[in-house]
Amino acid sequence: MSTAVTGANPIQRARRARFLEAWPLLTLVALAWIALMLVIAIGADWLAPYHFSALDLRARLLPPVGFGGTWRHALGTDELGRDVLSRLIVSIRLSLLIAFFGTLIAATLGTAMGFVAAHFRGKTEWLILMMIDFQASVPFLIVALAVLAFFGNSLVLFVVLMGLNSWERYARIARGLTISANEQGYASAIRQLGASSLRVYGIHVLPNIASTLIVSMTITFPETILLESGLSFLGLGVQPPLSSLGNMVGYGREYLTRASWILLFPSAVIILTTLSISIIGDWLRDRLDPTLR
């Protein structure tokens, strides 16, 4: 009776159960959210209903739909009458771009350093280990603040700085795994066949440690988003007229009592995005690299 109502026979149900086991519901939601963020980031120019800095002084501090606002400005407007939805879309794009390139720089630089340390050993390795220790001895937020203050702020410098945040995580992973591969495993066997270092590291070692590195990226990416938004919130990160999620929250802080929507929407996007990537990261780790647990 009940099967007739739900329209599912036992085989279909079993198939669904198996599917949900491999793809937990929470992970699917997280993936969907990240997909949405990517679509927004890529299509920002077409999706934003207004230019992100277009002023509309007749429509200042309009509330969002459902709180007395209209569909003309679905998420309301700010003090200068700028459309919050449009600013949010553009900010998502910039924040994701910074976090993406920051993570990419950290992973590339760190992995390369790890390979170099494992390949040359000796003094080179000691130097790199020393740099890793140094990085761990001072909180990066403080270093970033100091560097930004005195080098001034350009988007390129800022992205590079985000990349320097967590290179040492990759360096440690790549070094450890490469040393063990070099000492007893497949890497020394391939080298013995006459392969160049490029081949050993590029074709064999890198794919073998890639899953661990990818899982690490799911930790670095949200960290970078949080660092970027924190610095931008303090007014020391992304500079106007550009806008990132942290900037929006920092700006919205002034209107906390009168127009809390200005900061609530970007805050929600930050939390949901970092949360989604963490969930995806846990799921990936379980699937790709059970040893990391």
Binding site: D133, F134, S137, V138, P139, L141, I142, V143, L145, A146, V147, L148, A149, F150, F151, G152, P222, L226, S229, G230, F233, L234, G235, L236, G246, V249, G250, R253, L256, T257, S260, L263, S267, I270, I271, T274, L275, S278
Partner: protein, 307 residues
């Protein structure tokens, strides 16, 4: 042990020295502080006078040596903004920072550790899941968002607590809660996994198999062993207290070191930023040494074979 301690101290001093050197050169390489500080239309002769009075006309390595020698005598330079000694400016802010970070630190431990232990002992229960949910939220939520949400609820909506300032005890509550909540979440998650790891060990099964009550197994075997990794993360938290306070002090206009740092960075006040950097590095390094010592105390393996 003394030998080990001496080596540890030497390494700590080396780290601090490196941080000072790094800070000095990065900051000097970044440009001429005279041009950064003076307004763009300042006459060249007053820029030159500024340079001479701050010693900026000498070669960089002379400036560096002078800085190191002065630093050793406790003189970390003067603020380029108001001319007062940087060290004094920083030390003035220490009590305010401690006033929120120490209660927040205690809050983290008081909530995080018991929550983590409870969650581990009742694995997969509702309480466990709630703890994990809370803890994931704790480190995916930026502290400034949490701070502003607390302000929105307790200051704006309910009107119970002031949203910023430093007039009295009431002002400290929201900063403490903000700092404490995120740390407690991380600590709970960490304690839970340390506990689960220990509970899966053969000696725990052996202890319960020989007839000890579960309570004694937990208190005498599981907790001491889970304490070892947990101490590391707590020590790490001590080291990052100031860094964590940067954002929160700024949100609540709390006059601590973190806020001073943000203001000094915005003002490009070299000496003060350097001093704070030194201060933070010293805190981290000291915290690490204390963790190592505590290690030796709680982990018998460390007593016989120092690393």
């Amino acid at each position: 042990m003394m030998r080990y301690l001496a080596g540890r101290l030497l390494r700590a001093l080396l780290t601090i020295f490196l941080v000072v050197t790094f800070a000095f050169f990065v900051l000097r390489l970044s440009g001429d502080p005279a041009l950064l500080i003076m307004s763009v239309d300042a006459p060249p002769e007053s820029v030159e006078a500024f340079r001479i009075s701050w010693g900026l006309d000498r070669p960089v390595w002379v400036q560096y040596l002078r800085y190191i020698v002065h630093a050793l005598t406790g003189d970390l330079g003067n603020s380029m903004r108001d001319g007062r000694p940087a060290l004094q400016l920083v030390l003035e802010r220490v009590p305010a920072t401690l006033a929120i970070t120490i209660p927040a630190f205690l809050l983290k431990i008081a909530i995080g550790v018991p929550a983590g232990i409870y969650a581990a002992l009742h694995r997969n229960s509702l309480a466990d899941r709630m703890t994990m949910l809370f803890s994931v939220a704790g480190f995916t939520m930026p502290s400034f968002v949490l701070a502003l949400l607390l302000v929105l609820v307790f200051s704006v909506q309910l009107g119970w607590l002031p949203s910023s300032g430093s007039e009295g005890m009431a002002n400290a509550i929201l900063p403490i809660v903000t700092l404490g909540a995120a740390g407690a979440a991380i600590l709970a998650r960490f304690t839970r996994s340390a506990m689960l790891e220990v509970l899966g060990q053969p000696y725990i099964r052996a202890a319960s198999a020989k007839g000890l009550t579960w309570r004694r197994v937990v208190t005498e075997h599981a907790l001491p062993n889970a304490a070892i990794p947990t101490t590391t993360i707590i020590g790490f938290m001590v080291g990052t207290l100031i860094a964590g306070a940067v954002v929160v002090e700024s949100v609540f206009a709390w006059p601590g070191i973190g806020r001073l740092l943000v203001i000094s960075v915005a003002n490009r006040d070299l000496a003060v930023v350097q001093t704070i950097l030194l201060f933070v590095a010293a805190t981290m390094v000291t915290a690490n040494i204390i963790v190592d010592l505590v290690y030796g105390w709680i982990d018998p393996r460390m007593r016989t074979s120092p690393r």
